[in-house]
Amino acid sequence: MSENSLKRISIICSKGSLDMAYPGLILANAARMSGIEAMLFFTFWGLDIVNEKKVDDLHLSVLGNPSMPIPAMIAGLPGVEHLATAQMKKEMEKLDIPSVREMLSILDDAGAELYACQLAMDMFKLERSDLVPQVREVISAMDFFDKTGDAQIIFI
């Protein structure tokens, strides 16, 4: 019977676009499904993922994204980002991938620990009440290391 040698992962989410939000959330969830402890640290633009006002409206990064099948000249036009985001959300719905908000709730139920970065909160003038309830604590970078312990760190 193979056992996980990995006991805990610590994921830093530093970007707030839709395509940068899902990888961290899904990795953390897969870890919990496998019996691995998981914590997520939302900092800088990553705070958008746990920002009550923004969580339901994260966008794809279209401009400057070389994987996007849209020419840069068109990608910059008004409305294109909205269109691409709507299209991707539709595709994800077909595959029954939960919304970001639901992913946060699943992660909380699964026992994953969600933390927000104090410095980034100050920068963006956010209060605890601006964040979704699943965030356990607002912590400093030093707290982050204390809570990470000997976990593997993943930066997204």
């Binding site: 019977m1 899904i26 499904m33 029954d96 991938i97 699943i106 139920d109 699964a110």
Partner: protein, 104 residues
């Protein structure tokens, strides 16, 4: 392919211990696998195990946890309470179905 014997039944398993032939499973086998994993099965555990088996039989793939929660009435928190050491893997193992491909 390695085999293991649970409740007197010899079953083929893969390297990670998942049954490779789900038709060789019966409830006693499931019970014996659970004991090996240190789990004491209650009715709630069986609700999840039974759904994993019936859904696998129907769709040919092991359901993810979100699908299990939606179809069994056992909430996500309770799934983790019942299988604290990794429900995604443990339910499939006890139910004698492959490791789920779903990450959700």
């Amino acid at each position: 392919m390695p085999t293991k014997t649970y409740a007197g039944v010899e079953v083929p398993v893969d390297d990670e211990g998942y049954l490779t032939d789900s038709s060789r499973w019966n409830r006693e086998v499931g019970q014996a696998i659970a004991e090996e994993l240190g789990l004491e099965l209650t009715d709630e555990h069986w609700k999840l195990i039974d759904f994993a088996r019936s859904d696998y039989a129907e769709r040919g793939q092991t359901p993810g946890l979100r699908r299990m929660a939606a179809n069994t009435g056992v909430g996500m928190k309770d799934i983790y309470r019942l299988f604290p050491k990794g429900p995604g893997k443990l339910i499939a193992k006890v139910a004698g179905v492959p490791k789920p491909k779903s990450c959700i």
